[in-house]
């Protein structure tokens, strides 16, 4: 069963098109990622999915329901962990969960039972009576996740779940997301961390300027766009190295990244001798291709603000 079906989805803010004709399907139990630079349209897409941002054009079905016609019913069955820290600072950790549960009309005793389970699951029990402002960033993110689960959602929407966290906090959140996945919850996730996408997502789309540039399993995308490995060269003289490459570039593509040249090829191990002996390139290394290579290959290297 498809949990999310988007057909030619468009979101415009005045003249600006944030989401430009996106179509995709997400199956039950999948973790589906939205990868893209800042301003790619990730959050705009998420906000249409959780029915707070009106859809400009196209169709969107969540859990079989038309989002435009049944926003309330869709929201009842979703869990949303937004990007910004919008916990209620007037309440303690536990109260945040209880007050949020009330918006779903969850009976008080059920809400308490679920809140305690979630505090336990996210290692927040010790902090249950702390004021939200006094807990760490990692704890706030975990509390936002716990809050998103209070209504036992069938679909979880996570907008940049680990942005701004230290490595320990990120690993803990990844572990929890994987646990939730194993329970069969469908997860939509936006991120601009490649390691996060590779670790968590079964499938993903790479977005830029509101359009889908690529879609598929992370490993297959790397295979398709980059290959197994990348040859990196850090030449002492970048200009002459580039000139040499331009003369004899058969079977390879290359891109410059600062002082480094990255050379992509179907058979990177075979071109290494040629690069060393004929082109006289020095400082060569071979590394595994990653999703980051795909991402930068598709979205370019210029800075996005």
């Amino acid at each position: 069963m498809s949990v999310v079906v988007a057909q030619h989805l468009v979101k415009k803010y005045g003249e600006f098109t944030a989401v430009d004709d996106i179509s995709l399907e997400v199956q039950k139990g999948e973790c589906f990622g939205f990868l893209g630079p800042n301003g790619a349209g990730k959050t705009s897409t998420m906000k249409m999915m959780y029915a707070v941002s009106p859809i400009t054009a196209g169709q969107l079905f969540i859990l079989g329901l038309d989002v435009k016609a049944h926003p309330r019913e869709v929201k009842r069955r979703l869990g949303v962990a937004p990007q910004e820290y919008n916990l209620d600072p007037d309440f303690s950790v536990l109260e945040n969960l209880l007050v949020y549960a009330r918006y779903f009309r969850i009976p008080r005793s059920d809400a308490r039972a679920r809140a305690f389970q979630l505090l336990d699951f996210f290692h927040l029990m010790e902090k249950k009576d702390s004021v939200v402002e006094h807990i760490s960033g990692g704890m706030k993110k975990r509390l936002i996740l716990a809050r998103a689960l209070i209504n036992e959602p069938e679909l979880l929407i996570l907008d940049e779940p680990t942005t701004g966290l230290d490595p320990q906090a990120r690993h803990l959140i990844w572990e929890k997301i994987n646990e939730l996945k194993s329970r069969g919850i469908t997860v939509l996730l936006t991120t601009h961390y490649m390691d996060e996408a590779e670790r968590l997502c079964d499938r993903l789309v790479i977005l830029d300027q509101g359009k889908i540039l690529a879609e598929g399993e992370p490993k297959k995308l790397v295979q398709e766009f980059i290959g197994d490995e990348v040859v990196e060269v850090v030449p002492s003289d970048l200009e002459s190295a580039l000139t040499a490459l331009k003369v004899d570039s058969e079977g390879m593509r290359f891109q410059v990244n600062g002082k480094r040249i990255e050379i992509l090829s179907k058979n990177p191990r075979e071109i290494v001798p040629r690069l060393m002996n004929q082109l006289k390139l020095e400082n060569l290394s071979l590394r595994r291709a990653t999703l980051e290579d795909v991402f930068l290959h598709l979205t370019g290297r210029e800075l996005r603000e």
Binding site: K68, N86, N151
Partner: protein, 264 residues
């Protein structure tokens, strides 16, 4: 997401708006000990300074003592400030700094219900603070006790109007500092010129007409005074209708303007 984006669109409301009200009340309960002192002390200060101080020279207005004259005004002013401040500064902080409304609209509660819940909170604060003032002026023997049970809910009723006016400001101000303008240009003149501390009858006729047309507090004071003195006239029904109609219109406007601000 139904309907147009017009400012007179009928809001989509359900009982879920009370969950937003409950949230605000939970916070209010936590800080009640701090919150209930100002509405208790303020009318006492006004009664002593104006009622007994200035009243020493004024003696009588329209056949009653000056303290008796200003007592219903103190009640009315309190409902105005309580509701207006709740739905300006407090709501703005929740909306803009705490992103509380963004969090709530990701649940089955919609934006119309969030704003309606905030209006109910503003009116409830008017009810509570108005009730405290009523207790004070009753203790001074300035209220006809037969009408206390009418004045109490009337505080809530008047509160809705001032809450809606405040929420309209919240929907359109660029920043929290901008609230100085509606307060300086609208709330303070109302505080002074709505038959609060001197009778409207001494003002020129066109000014009186204008005041009744555009200053909500004039109607609130008129009704409150009629009730505290124990002599409600039938003309109060007109003021009651004025408040009802304007409350409905401003509440709808407030909800739609907030929706415009928050839903993009």
């Amino acid at each position: 997401m139904k309907g147009s984006n017009g400012i007179f669109r009928l809001p989509v409301l359900s009982s879920l708006c009370w969950t937003v009200w409950q949230r605000d009340m939970d916070v209010y309960k936590k800080t009640f000990k701090v919150n209930f002192v100002p509405p208790l002390l303020e009318p006492i200060l006004y009664l002593v300074a104006l009622g007994f101080g200035l009243g020493f020279f004024v003696k009588e207005i329209e056949g009653i003592s000056y303290t008796r004259f200003i007592a219903p005004a103190l009640f009315s002013i309190t409902t105005m400030y309580a509701a207006f401040f709740e739905c300006t500064y407090a709501s703005f902080v929740r909306m803009y700094y705490q992103k509380a409304f963004d969090a709530i609209i990701a649940t089955p509660v919609n934006i119309d219900e969030v704003v309606a819940g905030e209006l109910l909170s503003g009116a409830t604060k008017a009810f509570i603070n108005g009730g405290i003032v009523l207790g004070v002026i009753a203790a001074f023997g300035l209220v006809d006790l037969r009408y206390v049970m009418v004045l109490l809910p009337f505080g809530f009723f008047a509160g809705i109007l001032f809450a809606a006016l405040g929420m309209i400001c919240t929907a359109i101000v660029p920043s929290i500092d901008s609230f100085n303008y509606p307060i300086f240009l609208f709330i303070t003149p109302m505080f002074l010129f709505s038959g609060t501390f001197f009778p409207m009858s001494i003002l020129p006729e066109p000014v009186v007409v204008l005041a009744y047309a555009v200053l909500p507090l004039t109607h609130v004071v008129k009704i409150a005074r009629g009730l505290t003195l124990g002599a409600p006239e039938t003309s109060l029904v007109l003021s009651f209708l004025w408040i009802t109609v304007v409350s409905v219109i401003t509440s709808i406007l407030a909800i739609n303007l907030m929706r415009r601000r928050l839903i993009q």
